[in-house]
């Protein structure tokens, strides 16, 4: 598909962005730029607004203030279809309305790329199968999604995003429900995509996965305060202890910091 060829450098940026969480003060506006090749991890305790931020970045929720730009073009100027060719999202919750097979589910990722009357072609099918293969769920392709385990569904959802192949990938807790092996496989896949020129931006609740795989970190505090930057500057015990309101011990494994909660 021609849509897969994209300019080498792209960026999703926010200007003075305040996400809209009812009943919370504006906090600190976001001015960040998510560029090709970067892997961002969003950390924060429950209720800090990580999911709301992702939905706002994907254009599914209006911000309270500020603006979003895709390659310096305000996203409000873009058609939803054009936006979804550049920007994709893996949701944390998924609802099964009607029964659908794994392959059918992955194939809907091609939707933004097809004209209304166009049927999915052999190319699209091949893309979907490659994505399912990459997430190790190709053998399930004829199963109904409703019959899968939580981890399998999670991987199908990521495969759907991969089939959509936007430039910027937004993921809400992509390692949820995954066993250790698949957690690593998914994080490796995502960093590989970044190396190939995509931008990755994900919410994580596992501090150590972020420390291991992300090069940029955004910390979100429950009061709306935020700070962001390169991972090595963000992942310092003081900031993290304040973030989670939890004492941490730090060890080093494979050259990366590893945080363990202290016993109270």
């Amino acid at each position: 598909m021609s849509g897969n060829k994209r300019p080498p450098m792209q960026a999703l940026s926010t200007r003075e962005l305040v996400i809209d969480i009812p009943g919370r003060a504006d906090g600190y506006p976001l001015d960040l730029t998510i560029k090709s090749g970067q892997v961002w991890g969003v950390l924060g305790p429950n209720g800090a607004g990580k999911t709301t931020l992702l939905h706002t970045l994907a254009g599914l929720r209006a911000p309270r203030a500020g603006a979003l730009f895709l390659n310096d073009v305000p996203t409000t100027k873009l058609k939803r279809r054009a936006l979804s060719q550049q920007l994709g999202l893996v949701f944390q919750d998924r609802q099964d309305g009607f029964p659908a097979t794994v392959l059918e589910t992955a194939l809907i990722g091609r939707h933004p790329w097809l004209a209304p009357w166009q049927m999915e072609g052999a190319d699209d099918l091949a893309m979907a199968e490659r994505s399912l293969e990459a997430l190790d769920v190709l053998h399930l392709k004829n199963r109904l999604v409703s019959t899968l385990s939580g981890g399998e569904r999670q991987r199908v959802a990521i495969a759907t995003l991969m089939t959509q192949s936007p430039h910027t990938w937004l993921l809400d807790e992509p390692t949820n429900h995954l066993d250790l092996h698949h957690q690593v496989a998914v994080m490796k896949l995502l960093t590989d995509r970044a190396a190939a020129g995509n931008a990755i931006f994900m919410c994580l609740h596992d501090l150590n996965l972020a420390a291991r795989w992300c090069d940029h970190i955004l910390l979100m505090y429950p009061n709306g305060e935020t700070c962001w930057g390169p991972a090595e500057r963000m992942l310092v015990p003081d900031a993290l202890e304040r973030l989670y309101n939890q004492q941490l011990a730090t060890v080093e494994v494979d050259g990366a910091p590893f945080f363990v909660p202290k016993r109270v």
């Binding site: 939803r80 979804s84 994709g88 998924r94 009607f98 194939l107 990722g109 939707h111 209304p116």
Partner: protein, 323 residues
């Protein structure tokens, strides 16, 4: 989504054709198949020509159009609400359309005004059910169904009230709004036209509907302008229902049974399901009406009785299985 589309549609089209041939061939007056053929070749007796061209053919085509309209309306509403229990009759759209049509009849208006008034009634019913069921939260199945059932009961009461205060002369003609009946339908063409038109409009939207069936957020993330699409479906479902109701009164459960059966066999690609619903819904109603005409002839049953007898168990089964 990746299944072949032409084969199932061809099979359904042939089934529909067979049903129509049967319906035209069967009636309370026995006409030998050879005589039916003669009539279509432009020969045959005067009586046979009248029976077939004036009575059976218009009625068969009307039944087909009505069934197709209701099945497609049901399928669309089910996608919209992501709930296989949605149906124009259950959700009170038919009731709203019937009230609209009766109001126009009471006011002494005719023809196109009745259809327009039925459409307005169906739209109002749609807005009421969706608006009330939506509230601040989302469309939960129980909330939606309860709202629909209560609103439908309200329309039923309004219909009874209108029948009670209307002049006796209008009564026999009005009664059929209560229990759908194609025996008075004389002009199948507007209904067939709307059916073909709406199918031509929604089949290109089929893939968008597939995505919408996975929830509005997911659909928006995949590049769909959710609100306009939802509105379009509301309006089309109301138009389909109103057209069906003005042709044949409120016939229940076709919109429930047909899409459900088809999804079991054909999966849930709207590009296939929607035209398949048009064909299978038409076929079902043609068969049901043939049954209604002959089962206790010369007494005539309204076809709504047959569809309700089929539909109620299906509905209960679906409800039971959905926990």
């Amino acid at each position: 989504m990746i299944r072949p589309i032409t084969l199932p549609l061809a099979v359904l089209a042939v089934a529909g054709l067979i049903a129509m041939v049967m319906s035209v061939g069967i009636g309370s007056v026995a006409i030998a198949p050879a005589d039916v053929l003669l009539v279509f070749l432009g020969e045959g007796s005067n009586l046979h020509r009248t029976l077939i061209f004036e009575l059976r053919l218009p009625r068969t085509l009307s039944a087909f159009a009505t069934g197709g309209l209701l099945a497609v309306a049901g399928a669309l509403m089910q996608v919209l609400l992501r709930n296989p229990l949605a149906d124009p009759y259950v959700l009170g759209l038919s009731g709203g359309a019937a009230v609209g049509a009766l109001l126009a009849m009471l006011a002494g208006l005719g023809g196109a005004v009745i259809s327009g008034s039925a459409f307005a009634g169906a739209m109002l019913a749609t807005l009421m059910v969706f608006g009330l069921a939506h509230g601040t939260g989302s469309w939960t199945p129980s909330r939606l169904l309860l709202t629909g059932v209560v609103v439908a009961a309200g329309w039923g009461a309004v219909i009874t009230l209108m029948l009670a205060i209307s002049p006796a002369r209008e009564l026999p003609g009005m009664l059929y709004w209560l229990m759908g009946d194609v025996s008075y339908a004389r002009a199948p063409w507007p209904g067939l036209g709307v059916l073909v038109l709406v199918c031509a409009l929604v089949v290109p939207l089929g893939r968008s509907l597939n995505v919408l069936a996975r929830g509005p957020m997911q659909a928006a993330a995949l590049g769909i302008s959710v609100r306009p699409l939802e509105w379009l479906i509301y309006i089309l479902a109301s138009l389909l229902t109103a057209t069906a109701v003005t042709m044949a009164g409120s016939i229940g459960f076709v919109g429930l049974v047909v899409p459900h059966m088809l999804r079991l066999v054909l999966g849930n690609d709207q590009r296939l399901i929607l035209p398949a619903c048009a064909l299978a819904g038409g076929t079902l109603l043609v068969l049901a009406d043939t049954l209604a005409r002959v089962v206790i002839a010369p007494e005539q049953l309204p076809v709504g009785v047959i569809t309700a007898l089929l539909g109620v168990p299906t509905f209960l089964y679906l409800l039971y299985r959905s926990r």
